[in-house]
């Protein structure tokens, strides 16, 4: 998190129909000094070869920028390094490189990808176009030999665009590979492809319909729309990345009673005073908070999913679930998100969704061991709460880049 702005980076890609690998590569990393560096690179052609070109480009670009190498020099090295395509005689991968410092100052270098879109959230979202400066780099002159053996010099200079701006809360930076802009090319509806103006209008619509749409959802919606123009047989790799600068979404997950019953009121206070989404996991925990705050709890006995205990409702809580079984399932869903279970509607999937939609997650974990679970006739899957929370927190932090805080009570 940079200052009081949280930066959410999301992307979605769809490979060219029939190809086994992506030819577009998106990568994003956080440096030790708090910068976020994201690169989208589109390799020449598609499939593995393009994937290699794009991966090389993206990795080098991210590395060089992280080490403050001047962009011109970085670009030159990249172009010298890329292997030369046998058929076309050039080495080539486009890129869009975004470098965000800890004060949300954004620097962007673009090379041959469609221009990025910047939406600022005012009363209505507006599309901004920061001024761009050209950076000209001499390419190592590629050459191609025709059948007679005559060498022809190819492109000898590359023009990149450099721009910078100060991001504010609500800004969205959208950038994509040409697969998005050219989707539907040759079709009746879009003979020349979807095109930038229509993409701008489409994204604007999406933002107006859902003003708080997350980066990952927006990127996915754009790619899915582009894919539909190609009748779901994408003619090129289609990749879109979205960087969303927003006020952090906070979530409190409270689970387990304290070892010291005198701290029940402290727990209730933490719960009451927290601003953001609030979740209670565990029957005893929910009963304690309900008792301390004098708010009744009701278990929802409608639409029960037999695999997960039912959720309850309580005033002031966004979700109240059972403890260990639900948390165990959440850990599983976070680790293996591509299972069919993800699409069921039950407290575990609801909690997973809440966690993924939050930026800063605070766990308040009671350390009392539940003696009822120590009965040898109980299934062995009943894990110790602390371990399961550590597992969930680890996954959220490393795999989903959330800010995590764990407090044991």
């Amino acid at each position: 998190m940079n200052g009081d702005i949280f930066i959410e980076v999301g992307h979605y890609c769809c490979k060219k129909y029939g190809q086994g690998a992506e030819g577009d590569v998106f990568l994003s990393r956080k440096t030790d000094d708090g910068r976020i560096i994201s690169v989208l690179s589109d390799g020449l052609g598609s499939g593995i070869k393009a994937g290699v070109l794009a991966t090389l480009t993206a990795t080098m670009a991210a590395k060089f920028v992280a080490e403050d190498m001047p962009p011109r020099k970085a670009a030159r090295i990249i172009m010298k390094t890329l292997p030369v395509c046998k058929e076309r005689g050039i080495s080539y991968a486009t890129f869009t490189l975004v470098d965000i410092d800890s004060q949300s100052q954004v620097k962007i270098i673009e090379y041959d990808n469609p221009a990025y879109l910047l939406f600022r959230q005012a009363a209505e979202p507006v599309l901004l176009e920061p001024l761009k400066r050209d950076l000209v780099v001499r390419r190592p002159a590629g050459s191609r030999r025709d059948h007679g053996g005559t060498a022809t010099a190819l492109l000898s200079q590359a023009v990149m665009h450099y721009s910078e701006f100060q991001a504010t809360a609500g800004d969205r930076l959208v950038f994509f590979s040409d697969g998005v802009a050219q989707s539907g090319m040759g079709s009746r509806a879009y003979p020349l492809g979807w095109g930038i103006p229509r993409i701008q209008a489409h994204v604007m619509n999406l933002i107006q319909e859902t003003p708080d749409i997350s980066a990952r959802k927006l990127a996915q919606a754009i790619v899915k729309e582009a894919e539909s123009h190609d009748a779901y047989h994408a003619k090129d790799d289609i990749t879109c990345a979205v960087i969303y600068f927003r006020k952090p979404r906070r979530l409190l997950l409270m689970t387990g009673p304290s070892i010291d019953p005198e701290r029940d009121s402290e727990m209730a206070q933490i719960f009451r005073d927290f601003t953001g989404a609030k979740v209670l996991c565990g029957g005893t925990t929910a009963s304690i908070i309900s008792r301390e705050l004098g708010r009744p709890i009701k278990v929802n006995l409608k639409n029960i999913d037999p695999s997960i205990p039912p959720a309850s409702t309580m005033e002031g809580a966004d979700l109240v679930t059972e403890g260990i079984i639900t948390l165990g399932k959440v850990a599983e869903l976070l680790e293996f998100p591509a299972t069919a279970d993800r699409y069921r509607v039950n407290p575990a999937t609801q909690l997973t969704e809440l966690l993924l939609n939050s930026d800063c997650i605070e766990f308040v974990v009671g350390t009392k061991i539940n003696e009822a679970h120590q009965d040898p006739t109980m299934p062995v899957e009943l894990e110790i709460r602390r371990n399961i929370i550590k597992r969930i927190a680890g996954l959220l932090e490393e795999k989903y880049l959330k800010e995590i805080q764990i407090r044991f009570i």
């Binding site: 009701k298 278990v299 006995l301 029960i304 205990p309 059972e322 539940n370 679970h373 299934p379």
Partner: protein, 87 residues
């Protein structure tokens, strides 16, 4: 027939749930039509009896304030019948 309403509480806490309480939550589907409207069915996040060894074993249910340890659907139905004076 008297119009007494019987309140049934089924525990959905972890211990009860894994010991068979998951079945009990479907109690509503087993209530005979003649009793409809005379029962109030409720779930509880945790009744708390699992931590007290003297109360018996999970799963727990309560019929009109009377605790049923190791509850099963037939057992709860029997108890409801008793309370309604209709066995």
């Amino acid at each position: 027939m008297s119009e007494t309403i019987v309140k049934v509480v089924v525990c959905s806490g972890t211990a009860c749930y894994v010991m068979g309480g998951s079945e009990l939550l479907l109690l509503d589907d087993h209530i005979p039509a003649k009793w409809k409207g005379r029962l109030e069915l409720e779930g509880s996040p945790c009744l708390g009896y699992c931590k007290d060894k003297t109360s018996g074993k999970a799963p727990f249910a309560m019929v009109d304030g009377e605790l049923i340890p190791q509850a099963t659907i037939p057992e709860i139905l029997r108890k409801i019948g008793e309370k309604l004076g209709d066995r």
